[in-house]
Symmetry: C2
Subunit: 332 residues, 2 copies
DNA sequence: ATACCGCGAGAAAGCGGTTACAAGCGACGC
DNA sequence: GCGTCGCTTGTAACCGCTTTCTCGCGGTAT
């Protein structure tokens, strides 16, 4: 393969070959209908012959739009997040936008820099379950570009957001275990700075029923965290454990089974999110169906709206319901 | 919130406030050491006061480098891929690069356009398990930018690649089930155009042992595909099923369990990839550990090398081994 | 003292597009 | 017959930064 230094074909070459001005070529590629058919086809022919492709970066600089939107995820290893991303990806794609993804890996400190960096190369930003404080969000919004926050309630700033009613769903899920006869519950806490965690835990603290106790156990958001929490769960002498999310629930179930305990006979376990795996675990996981597809779609629609000039501040609140599967059972 | 039309702070403002030329400001931000300390600090002070941030798009246009690398994934819903991406993301980050991700969703037709689009906004491209044919790859490589292909052997073109020895690992895994006494095996085929699938199936076809039969059953790459294949697996009257990957294996196990069969007592099941979930399923999945972290790292190193001028054509071949867990057992 | 060298700094020409503005031109109304 | 309008097309000024080239200057070899 010879390293032929192919000079890039620019709009000027096309203009020259088609015998028109660069403006006309630009118009043709922008889909403007104010160019005569005659010139349009001459431009298109010349472009095809030369193998011209518009230079995306130059277009961005000149037009001030990148047709890219950044997405900041706290942890790409959680199927919950990539399900969201996957749906956003498709919605964005059909609008001609690309998504640029960064993973903060649950690092609070990394969020501001990553967010800024994403914003620098994009027209807007979607923050999934951001852990950062309001100052950072203010700083980011100061760039004047659309920002959509998912799974985090922000009232102060004029940011748009997509929220799921974690509180009500968690209450319903807890009620389900209580209805099954469980009295000593453990709530397995997730990432400390997560809004969803705060909502879920807040819901658990409102549980008031005769004889019912809720013991919090610290964990985190991963399967390993759930797995590692098992000794502490057992020490709490409970009959049901409500995990922060599906991932930790899966870890808990594996840990219990390794110790010869069976779920749900010896212990009921619930998750939250309803990731695709939840249906396929053994036993299938009782959880809360968080509408990942709708969230992804809503996040994109709101963002796209702002890119087209909508005022920020739109708020979408989605509701969600428990999904009862096989990991919970009546107390024996 | 007032919609203050904040004019962007440009390099010129900084230059003016610092009493130097724009060239000097540019040099300071580029980390050139040919600027005197005196001027360097004046520039830095002015930049801080004004809240200046270099305009990434303009930098890209002027320098010809975007500091972005595109990644094309066939299916973001497979943890195998996002594990790769996650590791690449981190490697790239420490080199000051961003990754821009697109998901072709197993659509062969979508790959060329997505690849081109990614390439247009980036300095290079990483194709994960691409399904497209050689012509498309040639077309993409014509752009003159570094392309790294992961999990796909390409000899003709001068592309760099990272490969895992699927063939040997699959043979070893099959041998494992044979050693356990199984004779009637089913191989559950994955995505047709996947190189990994071809390698794995090729390995299965080399199995020659007295009384051993291997029956192929078509499926796909997802949990649903594995789940849906269960009737056909049962019809094949086998005692062990080797699935294309972990996801389908998980689907198969769930399907078997729904029918009251237990794994591994009634049926041994294996996967491939060793996604994080494989350790936490019930029973824990016997699979092949595909070194996702190393692959991600290698893919980035090779790509980064080419970005720094290395010649393309580098090839990394990784080996991998079966991981025996609890989803396989001796034939009763 | 003269010529030369090296180095720090600035001027200016791009990078490849977009788009405001102007111009040309045929049609139409009065 | 002339002013006006509308539509297509071209001219050229950016978008914000990088980088080459040039220049001025102080220091060293001759």
């Amino acid at each position: 393969m010879t390293a032929e230094r192919t000079e890039r074909v620019t709009i000027r070459h096309v203009a020259h070959n088609a015998g028109v001005s660069v403006a006309t070529v630009s118009r043709v590629f922008a889909g403007s209908n104010s160019v005569s058919e005659e010139l349009t086809s001459r431009v298109l022919d010349a472009a095809r012959d030369l193998g011209y492709t518009p230079h995306a970066v130059a277009q961005s600089l000149a037009s001030g739009r990148t047709r890219v939107v950044g997405v900041l995820v706290p942890n790409l290893a959680n199927p919950y997040f990539y399900a969201l991303i996957k749906h956003m990806l498709h919605e964005a794609d059909r609008d001609g936008y690309r998504l640029i993804v960064a993973d903060s890996d649950e690092s609070l400190a990394a969020e501001p820099a990553l967010g800024m960096s994403l914003l620098g190369r994009s027209d807007g930003l979607v923050l999934l379950s951001p852990r950062c404080n309001a100052e950072v969000l203010t700083e980011l919004s100061r760039q004047g570009k659309p920002i959509t926050v998912v799974n985090r309630q922000i009232d102060e700033l004029g940011l748009s957001s997509v929220l799921v009613d974690n509180f009500t769903a968690m209450r319903k899920l807890a009620q389900h275990t209580i209805d099954l006869g469980h009295r000593r519950l453990v709530y397995l806490q997730g990432p400390a700075r997560s809004w969803q965690e705060r909502e879920r835990w807040r819901a658990m603290r409102t549980i008031r029923a005769p004889g019912v106790s809720v013991t919090p156990v610290r964990a985190g958001g991963t399967m390993e965290d759930g797995h590692a929490a098992v000794p502490r769960i057992l020490a709490a002498d409970c009959t049901a454990v409500l995990a922060h999310n599906d991932l930790t629930a899966i870890g808990v179930i594996a840990g219990l089974q390794e110790r010869g305990l069976s779920v749900p006979q010896d212990m009921s376990v619930t998750g939250f999110d309803d990731i695709p795996f939840a249906r396929f675990t053994n036993p299938a996981l009782t959880t809360v169906h968080s509408p990942q597809e709708e969230i992804g779609r809503a996040a994109w629609r709101i963002t796209a709206g702002m890119l087209h000039g909508d005022r920020p501040g739109a708020r979408t609140l989605l509701t969600t319901e428990p999904v009862i599967r096989a990991s919970t059972a009546p107390l024996m």
